[in-house]
Point group: C2
């Protein structure tokens, strides 16, 4: 059974898998080196290998192909190695000074393509639109379960971004409480009576030095306090709390932006590992003002060091003004 | 000029190097692979290469060897690539909704050995004692500058722990404000009127399932909410806020523990990268109760994934009860 344990020192939560420990030799990183996954290894995410994953939740399929067989274009499955399960209700247990929740929640995997070795920057725009529509659908369906209080969607690409499978995929995690990582949005609203991301949009459009790209519906910026070198945020210009409310026109533009920006990252930064992280407002809780959905994208060129972990203060060797200039020049050059 | 910028969304701080950006090809990690540093590369930390580092702050030297020449056993130098400098006073600047501090602070490097390729688990106990004494001395000397409010000492070993040099070293960072990462200690004291780490010691000694090792002065545990697989804390049993107050008897025992525990980690976990992080109380600020110095050690077997970064909630695939069992059996077996 998994548990979500309270970290009293860091004032945070940790998901602990109690019954399925990875053995020392099962970690992908060891001995100063790396065992990269390779195309020769068996991949459970490839078309034709459907029997090696849990039964699909939904799929976009060709013609009259059957569920859990070949013939799919995008496939959504439960995460086989879920820490969290939508089973029962949330219960807090105490053990002396410690406390924990049961592992209530939901983890799904979106297989973005049946083809192994084809990645986001290589998809056509139609596939990216389909993926965004599937994410929207999963967001709105999971939101109907009132045990889920927050939905985090994300993509790990490459071993240095935390990916355990090479085959291109995204992930969905439904949490039984609201994580504190976006609490600055709430604090800012309380203090200023306005939305932080709306105010960031206003200031960045004037300053321009951290602006990467702009479309009718989105602004791309390298954030003022970027934790990672070349980190970039995609912010919808119209204030909107939930990703689940994304419009057709926005999906269309966001797909183009994802393609264009990922190509820029791949070309400018020598094919880096990267994360996509889709942040949205809490759900199924009393209304909390201040949220505005946004997409964080960050290449992973550095490993967090002792000082980052111990102090929580990231040291970033690349000023966001320089990152923005690099991507701005590249993306405008492609237009 | 470096800046420490306020991250309004995450409610944290980020150190930004504005004038010395790493170019894309200068990052050690790229293209899914890794360029490991090797013994063939020139190492500025080796004996005989003193002219390639900034002049030493102090050193433990043999006989009458001269400063900044060969003949040293341990050498302390300013960090050549410091983001922070002890220059002027702390100033807060505002730029619209954003704010930042100037890069006031101090970064030093402790060259633990003149020999390249010899690491902590291979030192004799006398060398480890000398290193701890040097750390204590630097802690107490830097504490005298009232612009420094917190001292973080740490060690990055291996590229997956954030090390940029292979030659074995530790680091010291003096910060101009108190990081929030240990704020749970303050909150716990306010709520309970007692020290969290003292209460953890009491509970862990009774429960025993997360206990790794015990000496007269220290307790080693895998913490209840371990963020990293096989994370271990070394906690002084007597309540003490500042590492700078460590006694001779404690130094002697801590050196033995560091040697023994690092050997266990190297043997049990196939020579992993790891971090040492020495956490202590704030300095030069009005008294804040609740702190208790402790040493965090964690092997780095996983890379933080998108969900960890986005939510702040770490997912740990190894229960600390299992980690503790592994190390406990190994360390007792060596006694």
């Amino acid at each position: 059974m998994a548990e979500i344990r309270r970290d009293l020192v860091k004032n945070n939560w940790v998901g602990i898998v109690a019954d399925m420990a990875l053995k020392p030799h099962e970690f992908p990183i060891n001995k100063w080196g790396i065992e990269t996954t390779s195309n020769n290894n068996f991949c459970p995410f490839c078309e034709g290998h459907e029997e090696f994953t849990p039964p699909e939740i939904m799929a976009i399929r060709h013609g009259d192909s059957e569920a859990n067989a070949s013939g799919w274009s995008i496939r959504v499955i439960p995460n086989k190695f879920s820490v969290l399960h939508l089973d029962g209700i949330l219960e807090k247990k105490h053990n002396g000074i410690y406390s924990n929740y049961n592992g209530l929640g939901r983890q799904e995997v979106i297989l973005e393509t049946p083809l192994h070795g084809v990645d986001l920057h290589e998809y056509d725009k139609e596939r990216i639109m389909m993926i965004i529509k599937v994410l929207k659908q999963r967001y709105n369906i999971l939101s109907q379960d009132d045990r889920i209080k927050y939905i985090q969607m994300y993509k790990n690409r490459g071993i240095f971004a935390g990916a355990s499978q090479e085959h291109s995929h995204s992930q969905v995690m439904g949490l039984p409480f609201v994580p504190q990582e976006n609490s600055g949005l709430i604090d800012y609203y309380h203090k200023n009576g306005s939305c932080l991301l709306c105010d960031i949009i206003r200031q960045e459009k004037l300053a321009r030095e951290r602006l990467v790209y702009e479309t009718e519906h989105f602004l791309l910026i390298c954030p003022y306090a970027s934790r990672f070198p070349y980190e970039t945020w995609v912010i919808p210009k119209e204030h909107c709390e939930h990703f689940g409310a994304i419009s057709e026109a926005e999906i269309n533009e966001l797909a183009m932006i994802c393609k264009k920006y990922t190509c820029a990252m791949i070309d400018c930064l020598q094919n880096p590992a990267y994360n996509y992280m889709l942040n949205s407002a809490p759900i199924n809780v009393p209304y909390i003002p201040g949220f505005h959905w946004y997409l964080e994208i960050t290449p992973r060129l550095l490993v967090t060091a002792g000082v980052d972990i111990a102090t929580g203060i990231y040291m970033n060797p690349v000023a966001p003004e320089l990152s923005a200039q690099l991507f701005r020049n590249y993306m405008l050059g492609q237009d």
